[in-house]
């Protein structure tokens, strides 16, 4: 009774974002750090694998596609472009694929502690972002190895990557919310991810597709992931920018609208679902 009386506050029930940004961030990074640690426990080389694994994998892909198959004959720095595309797509796939089941995976937390619900899919995105950062370090080795001249545009590379993070998180929130009542979201999304990988100009350069059918190339670039990869490639080695690849500035509105729309939809659906998720798990 002797303590000064703290202000009373109203309990408003669970929500997606909560009203304490610091607590939101603390929780998200703690959960992400935990996931990250669990992943590399019990391996002798531990964190070394986080760099060694992509280095070896990328080395194989680089060798097979640029030396053996020569899929990108005539495209400058094809190997580096291939790796950049794969890294970005794997990030999207890790965030959304892991995001689908995230609310169910964290069921015990959600049912026992009141905390902002969006922490759960965001922590998945953070783990994937750490992976992305390490993969980019490995990519840098290949970029130097391939003799790509340094460009001031590299400073802007963070922009498409940040947009990819936002978009992936939005999709992950949408899927994780839908997965609670509809368990078939997971197999469906696995197939979609697979299809989307081949529908995205990653293994084949966009020029190859454009030479075959300019319309198909434009449709492929309506996919925000493909558009962001194209833009990142442009910044990294001076490949055609998104505007050039689409052929008109107006068409850029397509992937931008889809990116904003889907992300907003994901946030909206998740926000609607958040207050009742604990009782519907």
């Amino acid at each position: 009774m002797n303590a000064p009386s703290a202000p009373a506050y109203r309990v408003r029930g669970p929500s997606a974002g909560g009203d304490d940004a610091r607590r939101f961030w603390n929780l998200a990074r703690t959960l992400a750090a935990t996931d990250w640690k669990v992943r590399f426990y019990d391996s002798v080389l531990g964190y070394v694998w986080t760099l060694l694994r992509p280095l070896l994998l990328f080395g194989i892909v680089y060798f097979v596609f640029s030396q053996v198959i020569k899929a990108g004959a005539g495209v400058e720095y094809y190997g580096v472009l291939l790796l950049l595309g794969m890294i970005m797509y794997f990030f999207f796939s890790e965030v959304t694929g892991g995001g689908v089941t995230s609310m169910i995976d964290r069921e015990s937390l959600l049912r026992k502690v009141g905390f902002p619900r969006a922490v759960v899919p965001l922590s998945v995105a953070l783990v994937a972002a750490m992976n992305l950062a390490l993969n980019l370090i490995v990519l840098a080795i290949f970029v130097i190895g391939a003799g790509v001249p340094a460009r001031w545009e590299w400073l802007l590379l963070g922009l498409p990557l940040a947009l990819l993070l936002v978009f992936s998180t939005g999709v992950a929130m949408l899927l994780s919310a839908l997965y609670v009542p509809y368990r078939d979201v997971r197999p469906i999304w696995e197939v979609v991810l697979q299809a989307l990988f081949y529908a995205t100009p990653i293994l084949y350069p966009i020029e190859l597709l454009a030479a075959h059918s300019p319309t198909l190339a434009k449709i492929a670039l309506m996919n925000p992931v493909a558009a962001l990869i194209q833009e990142a490639r442009h910044l990294l080695v001076g490949a055609p920018s998104l505007t050039d690849a689409l052929g008109s500035t107006a068409l850029v509105a397509g992937p931008v609208a889809i990116l904003i729309g889907v992300t907003w939809l994901g946030f909206w659906v998740f926000d609607r679902m958040a207050p009742r998720v604990a009782e519907e798990l």
Binding site: M1, A6, G13, S108, K112, Y182, E279
Partner: protein, 427 residues
Amino acid sequence: MTGQPADDVAVKVDGVSKTFRLPQEQLHTLKERSLHPLRRRRFDTLHALGDVSFEVRRGEVFGIVGRNGSGKSTLMKCLAGIYQADAGEMWLRGRMAPFIELGVGFNPDLTAHDNVIINAVMLGLSPDEARQRYSSIVEFAELQEFTELKLKNYSSGMQVRLAFSVMVHVDAELLLIDEVLAVGDAAFQQKCYDVLNSLRDEGKTILLVTHDMSQVRRFCNRALLLERGQLAAIGDAATVSRRYTQVNFAVPDDADRAWHAVIDEDGDDAQVLEVWTQDAVGRRGAAIPQGTPCALMMSVLFRRAAHNPVFAFTLNDEKHRGVLAVTSDHEEGTSGAFEAGERVVAGASFDNWLAPGRYSVTAQVAYAGMGERVMTLAEDAGSIVVTGTRPSGGIVDVPHAFFVNRVSPTPGSAARPTAPAVERTGG
């Protein structure tokens, strides 16, 4: 009383209701839904809480009691911000930490160190605060040597100690505790109670969900009783716990039904066919009023011959504590010789001075000796309910007399013992 609570109020619940929708059929996949596109999802509604209002003052230990399914945990989860209330307002004052379960977020593949940090952050600390308190947390849990061990290598007792230690160090002014104190061994429970007492002395506000009335009487200043989601009683702890016992044990649901359990256990040596209780005149029934004579009975079929077998009954209370153990060996020394195929009825009669509550009955027959060679064992063969309206908080309510004797001389008169000032014979 809507709006902000008064200054000395730590928890204010005003007209809170909560309804759950329980789908009658689970349409979990899109295929199921698309096969029945026009069928509306039908829901059963479960009214978990209906218009509950109360206030808890700062520094109070407040009990929330009720049977399983009465809405205690739902109320707790609404307060903890896990469920959203459908109607009403809830106000809290000061940092709140929920202890719906000990060790929330524990991951068996991580070390104790990592788990402490996660758990503390889940309960409201920042990662920096968690790291600062880490050493005092493991010290309190007495686990300093084991901090680099993965949690899966911890015994369950060690895990509970660690989790409890985190809870103590979270530093909340308002604690919501949901039956977590019911875990662990006796020594640990004692430690829990000590901590609870010291938190209370520090002026923390504590909401304690329990259906252990002795806890309510020991720790709570006030309590409320929930019945099917409605506030049935609110007041001082003793009154509410008495009310709880009245409501739940005065007229049990199965009071009128004659009770016996038919055991379907095929022992090789013998078989317990039936276990039942009966009153002084031999009427069978599961409800035994406190203070009346009664008997535990079993009928046994011997499959092998036995000389002086030992018949035994054990009664366990709801916390699995052995309350009563009686054997024919102690009573008579010899029980006789029985042939294979013989049927026997054995019983133990006693005056029922058990505390009101529910007990499970275990019946056993063993070969002569210390009872180590079991012929047949019917574990938890049935339960009996001791009815009564006057809970003492103890395990038994033996008839007793109470004395208050004056030992120092009163001024102006000779020392004069006053015996017995109060006498109680129970019943």
